[in-house]
């Protein structure tokens, strides 16, 4: 499908004199804005040779921050994908008063600045917050722990998976469910064997989008992490190292993060083309 779309792309009339200027402009504009900054991460990361790079990546604090980022991002992704599937199915199946209002509320978190999201979480889960004050009675604390980072990630990426799964559900022919039902399937069996497999592509895309957004999250995590080594995610580590003027250490981890993002992004493109038909 993509191939035909590509073939049909308008390629301009032959010998169009504007053509080289058009293409040249796009590439030139991207140079200082996108291409050079990305390239320089790898340039500075490997500036003192691969051994230095490897040393920087291998530092225990660096490894810890990468592990923490991967772990919190994964947990947040699983939570939001599960929520996204359930919410999308509920909104698809039922029409109720205020359903469009609920749709807006679900989609709201992406529109909120990440620092604001961090503050908002602090207000609820912090010591004087609604849940935070209840937790005071236990030994458990949420803010300034790994849990806080997961909460921040969940908040910031809340509607991403939902936003991909809901349209896929809307495109699903309702007669599939009817057919399964007449064949004797319960609601749960219908959902499991018929609805869910049809959403496979959307679920994977939604998960990757969520993960990609989580792994780079900075604004909200810096608010809730409490500037502790235990809660230092990879982006926070980069920031800290820059502040300490350890540019090589910072750029090395930045390069690793960039590569992870590239991989996730290519996977998104791949699933879009292959799994979503």
């Amino acid at each position: 499908m993509n191939v035909t779309a590509h073939n049909r792309t308008y390629s301009g009339r032959p010998n169009d004199p504007v053509r080289p200027f058009g293409i040249g402009f796009v590439v030139l504009a991207m140079m200082p804005l996108v291409i050079l900054p990305l390239a320089s991460i790898f340039y500075y990361g490997f500036n003192k040779g691969p051994i230095h790079f490897w040393e920087a990546v291998k530092a225990p604090a660096a490894i810890y921050s990468l592990q923490l980022s991967l772990m919190t991002s994964s947990v947040a992704t699983v939570c939001n994908v599960v929520f996204g599937i359930i919410a999308a199915y509920v909104m698809y199946k039922y029409r109720f008063k205020g359903s469009s209002a609920l749709m807006i509320v679900i989609s709201l978190p992406t529109a909120i600045p990440t620092a604001v999201a961090g503050v908002a979480l602090l207000l609820v889960w912090g010591r004087s917050g609604l849940f935070g004050s209840l937790l005071e009675y236990t030994d458990y604390q949420v803010m300034f722990t790994t849990a806080a980072i997961i909460l921040a990630n969940i908040f910031v990426t809340f509607p991403l998976a939902f936003g991909v799964i809901k349209p896929a559900l809307d495109n699903l022919d309702p007669s599939f469910e009817s057919a399964a039902e007449t064949m004797g399937a319960t609601r749960w069996q219908t959902f499991l064997y018929v609805v869910l497999p049809s959403l496979r592509g959307a679920i994977i895309t939604g998960a990757l989008l969520t993960f990609a957004r989580c792994i780079g999250e900075f604004g909200s995590t810096i608010m809730v992490s409490g500037n502790k080594a235990k809660t230092m995610t990879a982006p926070l580590y980069i920031y800290a190292k820059f502040n300490e003027a350890e540019v090589e250490a910072a750029t090395a981890i930045a390069a690793v993060l960039a590569v992870i993002s590239f991989i996730v992004f290519s996977l998104i493109l791949f699933t879009r083309n292959r799994l979503e038909k």
Binding site: S175, S178, A180, E181, T182, M183, G184, Q189, Y193, P197
Partner: protein
């Protein structure tokens, strides 16, 4: 009220009498009604399907035929009426508890399952063991001639093949009734005719009762042991294709199953007068209180003859002027404009000649190529028009 009375009757007979009706009929639908908002889509529909027979619900879109199917399948809840499947009261059951197979309009094959997995689905849901399941699937694949396509996905097979798979998928769990929802409309005409014949044979072999819904009269004639004609949520007529075609009870039934000419006539004292204008225009004092009735006749029941030769004993429509002649292959379609106020069936009466003027009434006539060769017709020819057969609709104006 009526429905309630009938319902009570059915209950009583079911409990105390166990009549033949409940035993011999696979499906009984009694007084089924459904309303969507303020719109009454089904109004007191009753019919039955005998064991091993097929019924076609024929009607235009919006006639309520799809709703009837969805009510029987359990995909909608009726507002009133009863549904019995093999003597079992089912209208309160969920779709999955009814054991009915539905072949949807677009077949609704599960896109992420192979042909074999689609067929196995109903058995898997019922917890049938893998070995038994596989054997049954193989048997069904062989029956529909798709063994070599077992591992393909629905998007990789043709529309006709998809329909076969949909049927096999429904047959797998031995349904008590098969419902076909406009299942042929998406196929090209040749595949359609072939598949219809195959399905007819298959149903006869398996003796599974079936209900088809369609708006295609040709399909209805070919598939149905019985045809039920539905219009605006009401059942117009039910009977064998021949009964409905030869003896339509309503104008709608006549015009929807086959083509029909409908002519309004005025009748008084057993004498009918063809009325192109109004009954009030009738001139003589003999016609005190003329009654309006409609006569219905098929295009093939009309005989055209030379203007001067009209056999006296037959039912006449008097004279007409040929409007146009269309050759359609086996048959020729002639449209004839009738001349007004002819006395229906009494050509030689004194009144006739006086009113021999053109009117707006055009009838359609079918002639075989032999008739066409014997008496070639051209537009503006004057012809005598008489009927081999007609049907009068009493009090149905």
């Amino acid at each position: 009220m009526m429905a309630q009375a009938m319902l009570n009757q059915v209950y009583e007979t079911e409990i105390y009498a166990e009549p033949a009706a409940l035993k011999n009929n696979a499906l009984i639908v009694n007084g089924l009604s459904k309303q969507f908002g303020s719109e009454r889509v089904l109004d007191d529909i009753s019919f039955s399907i005998a064991e091993g027979e097929s019924l076609v619900l024929l009607g235009p879109s919006g006639s309520g035929k799809s709703t009837t199917l969805r009510l029987i399948a359990g995909l909608e809840t009726p507002d009133g009426g009863d549904i019995f499947l093999h003597g079992r009261h089912i209208e309160h059951l969920r779709a999955r508890e009814r054991n009915i197979g539905v072949i949807f309009q677009n077949y609704a094959l599960f896109p992420r399952m192979t042909v074999a997995d689609n067929i196995a689905f109903g058995l898997k849901i019922r917890g049938v063991k893998r070995k038994t399941r596989d054997a049954k699937v193989e048997e069904l694949l062989a029956m529909i001639g798709m063994t070599e396509h077992r591992d393909k996905y629905p998007s990789q097979i043709s529309g006709g093949q998809q329909q076969r798979v949909a049927i096999a998928r429904a047959l797998a769990y031995k349904p008590e009734l098969l419902l076909f929802d406009e299942s042929f409309s998406a196929l090209d005409p040749q595949t359609r005719t072939g598949l219809r014949r195959e399905i007819r044979l298959l149903l006869q072999k398996l003796k599974i009762p079936a209900m088809f819904i369609t708006h295609d009269q040709e399909e209805a004639m070919e598939l149905g042991d019985q045809i039920a004609i539905l219009n605006k949520g009401r059942l117009e007529q039910i009977g064998t294709p021949r009964e409905v075609y030869d003896n339509p009870q309503t104008e709608f039934a006549a015009t929807f199953l086959g083509a029909a000419n409908v002519v309004e006539v005025c009748r008084n004292d057993g004498v009918e007068l063809l009325d192109c204008r109004q009954c009030e225009a009738l001139p003589t004092n003999d016609w005190q209180s003329p009654e309006r009735v409609k006569i219905i006749f098929r295009p093939e029941d009309v005989v055209l003859s030379a203007a001067t030769s009209l056999p006296e004993a037959e039912k006449h429509l008097g004279h007409g002027i040929v409007v146009d002649v269309n050759f359609t292959g086996a048959l020729e379609v002639v449209r004839v404009k009738l001349l007004s106020l002819n006395q229906f069936g009494y050509l030689n009466s004194a009144n006739c000649q006086n009113f021999d003027q053109p009117c707006d009434l055009i009838i359609k006539v079918l002639r075989t190529k032999w008739d066409a060769q014997r008496m070639p017709l051209n537009p503006k020819d004057k012809v005598g028009v008489w009927l081999r057969d007609h049907k009068m609709l009493e009090n149905k104006l």
